[in-house]
């Protein structure tokens, strides 16, 4: 049985990584924050009385499911908006300028801290860009396995798949990321 302090400590230790995971998946800062908040509330509300040792796996399951729910909702919303936009006259959408809303992925890193080198910042930005290009399952497996430090069995439990699938996803993700970084001039990491 956990107490509020244990849950608070766990959430504060995981919240930034969770936000980044959601951001890589949905590529929208506000949506990523909403997803993390939803996942936190679900964990606290439904599993707040569980032992603290169970929090990491439970939270990752909830987070990944919340991200998947977001994608499902987006798919439905996009289908409806496509339907309506096809029914609308073209001149009504002419005011929209994509350049105003285009995100510059190459320059999205925060201002460099004194101790961090410019080169490192560029590599981080490239890695983040590479992660957003992976398939959702590959990214999920890679981040859970190597960033969250879960073993294959835990990753499989969090993703709801077999350990074999986790290994395949991780291998392909690593290979795809390496190829992307190599194409951008990063040979070794």
């Amino acid at each position: 049985m956990s107490n509020p302090t244990e849950l608070s400590n766990f959430l504060s230790s995981v919240e930034r990584r969770a936000y980044k995971q959601a951001l890589y998946a949905v590529r929208n800062e506000h949506s990523a924050l909403d997803i993390v908040q939803d996942a936190m509330i679900k964990l606290a509300g439904k599993y707040g009385d569980k032992p603290a040792a169970e929090f990491p796996l439970l939270f990752q399951r909830i987070l990944q499911n919340t991200i998947r729910d977001y994608h499902r909702r987006q798919k439905v919303r996009n289908a409806w908006s496509t339907l309506f936009s096809s029914l609308m006259p073209q001149h009504e959408t002419e005011d929209y300028d994509p350049l105003e809303n285009l995100k510059d992925d190459d320059n999205q890193s925060v201002p460099a801290t004194p101790e961090a080198s410019m080169q490192q910042q560029q590599i981080i930005a490239l890695i983040e860009q590479g992660l957003t290009r992976l398939s959702s399952r590959q990214r999920e497996a890679f981040l859970l396995r190597y960033w969250e430090g879960m073993d294959t069995a835990e990753t499989a439990a969090a993703m709801g798949c077999t350990e074999g699938s986790v290994k395949v996803h991780c291998s392909r993700a690593t290979q795809a990321l390496a190829e992307f970084l190599k194409a951008k001039g990063v040979d070794k990491l």
Partner: protein, 119 residues
């Protein structure tokens, strides 16, 4: 371990190094995002499920706890039962005597109507 190292060399990427850089990136989040995450955490903590203590009289044995198990318990239960029965009978007798005494007192005092003597 050596297989992993060979794989990493072949791929030119070390997942642990990538993870370290990603962790570094989380330390550079802007203050607005950090504040929003902290607020989200506070909201979640307010809704934390806590099992509240329930006031229930529970012996831990259920109905079986009421049944005597040893000879001593059976004797104690029998004594308790006899005492209750004796007290009940005694009380009933005392009430009867009290009523009869009251009736006698009223007869002697001539407070009763004549119909009472007809029966």
């Amino acid at each position: 371990m050596s297989t992993n190292t060979t794989d990493n060399n072949r791929r030119g990427i070390n997942p642990e190094a990538v993870a370290n850089l990603l962790t570094r990136a989380t330390q550079q989040l802007d203050s607005e995002t950090v504040t929003a995450l902290q607020r989200a955490r506070d909201v979640a903590l307010e809704r934390q499920l806590q099992k509240k203590p329930v006031l229930v009289l529970h012996t831990g044995h259920g109905v079986r706890g009421l049944i005597p198990h040893s000879t001593h318990q059976w004797v104690a239960a029998a004594i308790l039962l006899v005492t209750i029965l004796f007290s009940g009978v005694n009380y009933w007798q005392h009430t009867q005597e009290h009523e009869l005494g009251h009736l006698d007192a009223e007869i002697l005092a001539d407070d009763l109507p004549l119909e009472v003597f007809v029966d």
